[in-house]
């Protein structure tokens, strides 16, 4: 266990939370994208966190295991004039829930801040440790 693994731990959490914020941003940006590269409407994405390889030491940080697609039902809007409307006049819209995304974003940014705080505190302590025995 190296002295600097605390930076690794907080750094991994910051990376993971930043990715979660990226995914949220993508969801918000595509809240009305009716057609993606595959011709289908955009599906909301979610990140899955997992505690990272703790190999017996009990500490190891966090990692994003995978980005999954939300399997909530797609929203359907009645817009008969739309070019992508089906026979009944409905357009399939993305299943992005803007309220959920906002909550997710706030939660991610708070967690990110907490980790920055941990990193700063640890850095200060280490700087003090480096001057041990001086003067």
């Amino acid at each position: 266990m190296s002295m600097f693994s605390i930076f690794e731990i907080s750094g991994s959490a910051m990376t993971a939370q930043a990715q979660r914020m990226n995914v949220t941003a993508s969801n918000m940006a595509n809240a009305d994208s009716v057609a993606g590269p595959d011709g289908e409407a955009y599906r909301a994405k979610q990140v899955m966190f997992e505690a990272r390889g703790q190999n017996g030491t009990g500490v190891g940080g966090v990692a994003v295991r995978e980005v999954i697609e939300d399997d909530a039902p797609m929203r359907r809007e009645f817009r008969p004039d739309h070019p992508l409307a089906d026979d009944e006049g409905y357009v399939t819209m993305p299943n992005v829930e803007p309220v959920n995304e906002m909550v997710n974003m706030i939660s991610a940014s708070r967690s990110y801040q907490a980790n920055v705080e941990v990193l700063n505190t640890s850095k200060q302590l280490m700087m003090k440790t480096l001057t041990l025995g001086e003067n």
Partner: protein
């Protein structure tokens, strides 16, 4: 003479080391605050300190393979930073199985960093004392 000096500083060294380990465990809890099924960990500082003073660090031992013949390869399992890492008893477990309570972890973290600084100050004082004892007049 050097070993006497090391012995004089051993208590502070162990205390500082354990404070550092605890800092890592708490940082890990904060890092995993949003990980499903993660269980918050911590350890009993005074118990670990008295054990470290009595029997040395657990890292010195670790799990090792026994080598009974010349061709055997000695293997060392990675050992835990402290003797036993306990699980925190959750007061409000969340639905995803995560037991990290951010307020608790952050206050413990702040508490631990102040105590780390206290240990550092005491170690510094001890070193200063030894240094001034070594000065000629």
């Amino acid at each position: 003479m050097i070993d006497r000096l090391a012995a004089a500083l051993q208590f502070d060294q162990e205390a500082l080391n354990l404070r550092h380990q605890r800092q890592q465990v708490l940082a890990n809890n904060i890092a995993n605050a949003d990980t499903p099924n993660y269980k918050a960990r911590d350890f009993d500082f005074s118990q670990e300190l008295s054990r470290a003073m009595d029997s040395g660090r657990p890292a010195d031992g670790g799990l090792a393979l026994s080598t009974t013949a010349a061709g055997h390869i000695g293997g060392h399992g990675q050992s835990a930073p402290v003797g036993d890492l306990l699980y925190r008893v959750p007061d409000q477990p969340s639905l995803d199985g995560n037991t990290v309570n951010m307020d608790v972890e952050r206050t413990r973290f702040a508490d631990n960093s102040v105590r780390y600084q206290a240990a550092l100050t005491m170690l510094n004082g001890r070193i200063q004392g030894l240094k001034s004892a070594m000065q000629p007049e």
